[in-house]
């Protein structure tokens, strides 16, 4: 399909952005990308929703288009399936880079509410779904061992910034 092409306004570029990404876990090889498009061709999400385009996101990072990458919300469409990362001929850790970009977006408060809600649940109860008395009754009935309803140590570990 035809993509809309526009000149990139480099006046809006933050040339430090690519360096920031290159310093994250897995981001070191980003500058090796030669834009072959294996990532986008392998991406299952892109088959369904063409707003998500990993090749484009990598290029935007290299061009320093920080605002566009972090505020557009596109990075949250990555399902972290590793199809692109397994196939990249240049060894760019694309899935790891998407995770690093999600971390950066989260630091600028561009994060889906559901993701934050999960974090609060885990901090409070040590798990996304707490086990309560009702669950444990059902577990025992099914021949499964009961589980603790709270894990205090996890709450303690996660409460410190």
């Amino acid at each position: 399909m035809e993509e809309k092409r526009e000149p990139v306004d480099l006046a809006r570029s933050d040339f430090n952005f690519a360096n920031q990404v290159a310093q994250t876990e897995g981001g070191q090889q980003i500058s090796r990308c030669f834009a072959c498009g294996t990532c986008s061709a392998s991406c299952p999400v892109r088959r369904i929703n063409d707003k998500y385009n990993p090749r484009r996101i990598i290029r935007q990072v290299l061009l320093g288009l920080k605002e566009e990458v972090l505020k557009s919300g596109f990075v949250w469409l990555c399902s972290a399936c590793y199809s692109c990362q397994e196939r990249c001929p240049q060894g760019v850790k694309i899935t790891d880079i998407m995770t690093a970009l999600k971390n950066m977006a989260a630091s600028s408060n561009c994060v889906p509410d559901g993701v934050l809600a999960q974090m609060e649940l885990i901090k409070k109860q040590g798990k996304v779904y707490a086990i309560d008395e009702f669950d444990n009754k059902k577990r025992i009935k099914a021949g499964l061992p009961p589980l603790p309803e709270e894990i205090d140590e996890i709450a303690q570990l996660l409460s410190v910034p």
Binding site: C81, Y82, E86, Q118, L121, I154, L157
Partner: protein, 318 residues
């Protein structure tokens, strides 16, 4: 062969059929499992927002297994990849390990790097081998056409799993399907992601991905689908009905955890395998392989509490 059983968040609360069947199958195959009450979330859901806390949470869980002197066995593929990844990082990054251990010391724990993490199906396929499975089969599932869904984190990142199966041409689940007497069915989009991870940010995209694969499985003539991760199960089993409504399609495709099919073939009763907890009805299909009566389905339905708070990670779409 003994492991610390890591259940994670979703399975013990919302996918008990996986836990029930996994324990039964492990028992049949002589795998010993130890429960560790302090095991919590693996850290995966925090990965996109807080990498440091993700590592800390994984390190907490791994340190408990180390205290027991046991390797970790996971049932969920996301737990599997996150714990394996953090275990690898902590073992190889001295600075990270020191920093995390300072925090763990507050609750009297230490990560020493003495354990390893494996998915249950990897243990069964790689460490036990297909012959052991065949030997344990009592009722071969002859004639049952099954499509295997490998999912993403069971196979990838492959470098962390010592490439036990080829992510571009995976075979392990099909081989297990064949070992229990059923017929593995090939279909288009075998390797495609279930979409579960996107459900929280874009429901339409996530369900579109799930539908895409359900269409391909249906077209292949498979009678059932099998999988090894509770996230995938939410998408294909729990959400199948809503996908049918949303896209005006029809599947009626039973979705089994691999351990449920293995248990069935090993002569475990469908009640003990939690078959009544599957969303898409399995009764007709499994009646071909077991003589027992299934009245429990109705009884269990009455007991399901309706007012439970909705899960943010994987809303069960009504």
């Amino acid at each position: 062969m003994k492991f610390a059983l890591f259940l994670g968040c979703t399975i013990p609360a919302r996918s008990r059929q996986y836990e029930m069947s996994a324990r039964k199958v492990a028992d049949k195959l002589g795998i010993l499992l130890e429960d560790v009450p302090g095991f919590g979330c693996c850290g995966f859901p925090l990965k996109s927002v807080d990498p440091e806390k993700t590592t800390l949470l994984a390190a907490w869980n791994l340190s408990l297994a180390e205290e027991k002197g046991l390797p970790v066995m996971t049932l969920c593929s996301a737990c599997s990849s996150n714990l394996a990844e953090e275990n690898h990082r902590l073992k190889h990054d001295d600075r990270l390990r020191r920093r995390i251990n300072e925090k763990l010391a507050r609750v009297g724990k230490e990560f020493r790097g003495t354990t390893e993490v494996k998915h249950i199906l990897r243990v069964i396929h790689q460490d036990l081998g297909l012959e052991k499975i065949t030997q344990a089969v009592k009722i071969p599932l002859t004639g049952l056409k099954v499509a295997s869904h490998y999912g993403c984190h069971y196979l990838k990142p492959s470098e962390l799993y010592d490439k036990f199966d080829d992510p571009e041409n995976p075979r392990s689940l099909d081989q297990i399907v064949a070992a229990i007497g059923a017929t593995p069915v090939n279909y288009e989009r075998v390797k495609q992601c279930c979409g579960g991870a996107v459900l929280v940010s874009d429901e339409a995209t996530a369900l579109g991905l799930t539908k895409d694969k359900l269409d391909a499985v249906k077209a292949s003539g498979a009678e059932a689908m099998t999988l090894v991760c509770p996230f995938c199960n939410v998408m294909y089993d729990n959400n199948q009905k809503s996908i049918e409504t949303r896209f005006a399609s029809e599947y009626g495709l039973p979705v089994f955890y691999m351990t449920q099919l293995m248990g069935l073939a090993m002569g475990v009763s469908s009640k003990d395998l939690g078959m009544n907890l599957n969303s898409v009805k399995t009764k007709e299909l499994i009646a071909r392989f077991s003589a027992e009566d299934e009245d429990d389905e109705k009884k269990e339905k009455k007991k399901v509490r309706k007012d439970k708070p909705g899960p943010p990670l994987q809303p069960l779409i009504k």
